[in-house]
């Protein structure tokens, strides 16, 4: 306890200095989705909008494929990725299901079980 030394936590992507730098453009684009005009502009031409923020090839692919895990690996912060999810009309259970490979119903069932302390 009480150590903050680096450690591997499986299935977890710590948003640290390395990720903050790597994901800067991706996160900046997703941060812009706070504004309706930005959401409209993205929807009209996603590729062109990604280019405005200098997204890398891997980041653009992740955005195009709605691949949340790939976005995390490319430096995405869940706070900003959540705004992209909102643009796609996905909620946090949809996002959870996408990341864990479960159906949305399976993911919700898992939450209920975890909430009861059954796991």
């Amino acid at each position: 306890m009480a150590t903050n030394e680096k450690r591997d936590i499986p299935g977890t992507y710590l948003f640290d200095s390395k990720m903050a730098k790597k994901g800067y453009g991706l996160n900046k684009m997703c941060y812009s989705f706070n504004n309706q005009e930005a959401r409209d502009e993205f929807n009209a031409d996603p590729d062109a909008y990604c280019d405005k923020f200098n997204l890398t090839v891997a980041q653009k692919k992740a955005i195009k494929e709605k691949d949340i895990i790939a976005m995390l690996r490319e430096g995405g912060s869940i706070y900003y990725l959540a705004k992209y999810a909102g643009l796609l009309k996905l909620n946090m259970q949809d996002i959870g299901a996408l990341q864990t490979g479960m159906s949305v119903e399976e993911f919700k069932d898992m939450l209920v079980k975890n909430g009861r302390g059954e796991v």
Binding site: T3, Y31, F33, L72, Y79, N91
Partner: protein, 283 residues
């Protein structure tokens, strides 16, 4: 002298805003959560605090990672909510309390907490959801709010022992303010949850309940955790426990638990509502 009369822990997740906007409080999914709130609302309506000091974390409305304050405090007369990008309703302005805010800011910097001091800051669901939970129908305009924002997004972030110490310093600052004001402190967020990664969806009920117990009787024990401990035990966003710990730090006198309601899950999180009554230390 200003007087901290109590502390409250509450969830602040956006799904609550949607549930309230859509009138879902009595549905089977939400009822066990919302049923916890009337005793806390009654207490607030009876005690009528003048000021709420509210610990929350911004989720990318005011602050982006271009400049990310570790600790920020609002010193404005009014705060505004805005479009957060995912369709929860934008709500009416929040009233501020500039004099006490500046007093706290001065006192904190003097005390070694180098705050980012904000005369304008947009406030997101982390701050607005708890206000609307306590005064539904957006009826929070009469109460003056001092936002204290803690980085819980980007590592490095302040450790629990530091956020607890920040709370204690705010407690001392309030005690040294020479106007008679009743202050309540909200610690918002958490509890255990992880939104991102293949590990998304974990909730640690046992740990959450233990944290609530310790917030009452042994808060120092919580300062032994590091943020990475919290990530491991309570999920990547379990670090929001820091806001609850900071709240508890402000309660530098005697504490008595008046009400608690733990419920999980709401959305992807464990929700810990607790009301602590506080008696200031004798001078």
């Amino acid at each position: 002298m200003a007087n901290i009369i109590g502390g409250i822990t509450t969830s602040h997740i956006p799904a609550i805003a949607n549930a309230m906007a859509n009138g879902l409080e009595e549905t089977p999914y939400w009822k066990p959560f919302f049923d916890g709130y009337p005793p806390v609302r009654d207490w607030l309506n009876e005690k009528k605090p003048d000021v709420i000091i509210l610990f929350y974390n911004d989720h990318g409305l005011e602050f982006f990672i271009d400049k990310k304050p570790t600790f920020a405090i609002g010193v404005a007369d009014e705060y505004h909510n805005a479009d957060e990008g995912w369709g929860i309703p934008t709500i009416p302005p929040v009233t501020g309390e500039s004099d006490l805010s500046w007093h706290i800011a001065n006192s904190l910097v003097e005390d070694g907490f180098d705050m980012t001091i904000c005369q304008e800051m947009k406030v997101d669901h982390g701050l607005t959801v708890p206000l609307n939970l306590m005064w539904p129908g957006y009826n929070y305009g009469h109460v003056k709010v001092i936002p204290v924002c803690i980085n819980c997004e980007q590592h490095p972030m302040p450790q629990p022992k530091r956020t607890y110490a920040l709370g204690q310093a705010i407690g001392r600052a309030v005690a040294s303010f020479d106007q008679d004001l009743k202050v309540a402190v909200f610690g918002t967020g958490g509890m255990s949850h992880q939104l991102d990664g293949e590990r998304a969806g974990i909730i640690n009920r046992e740990f959450d309940i233990d944290c609530l117990d310790k917030l009452v009787s042994d808060p120092e024990a919580l300062t032994k955790y590091s943020n990475l401990d919290l990530v491991e035990i309570a999920g990547a966003q379990g670090v929001e426990l820091n806001m609850l710990i900071a709240m508890r730090g402000t309660l530098i006198g005697e504490v008595k638990e008046l009400h608690r309601n733990y419920h999980a899950p709401i959305s992807n999180t464990g929700s810990g509502l607790m009301l602590l009554e506080h008696t200031m230390p004798k001078k």
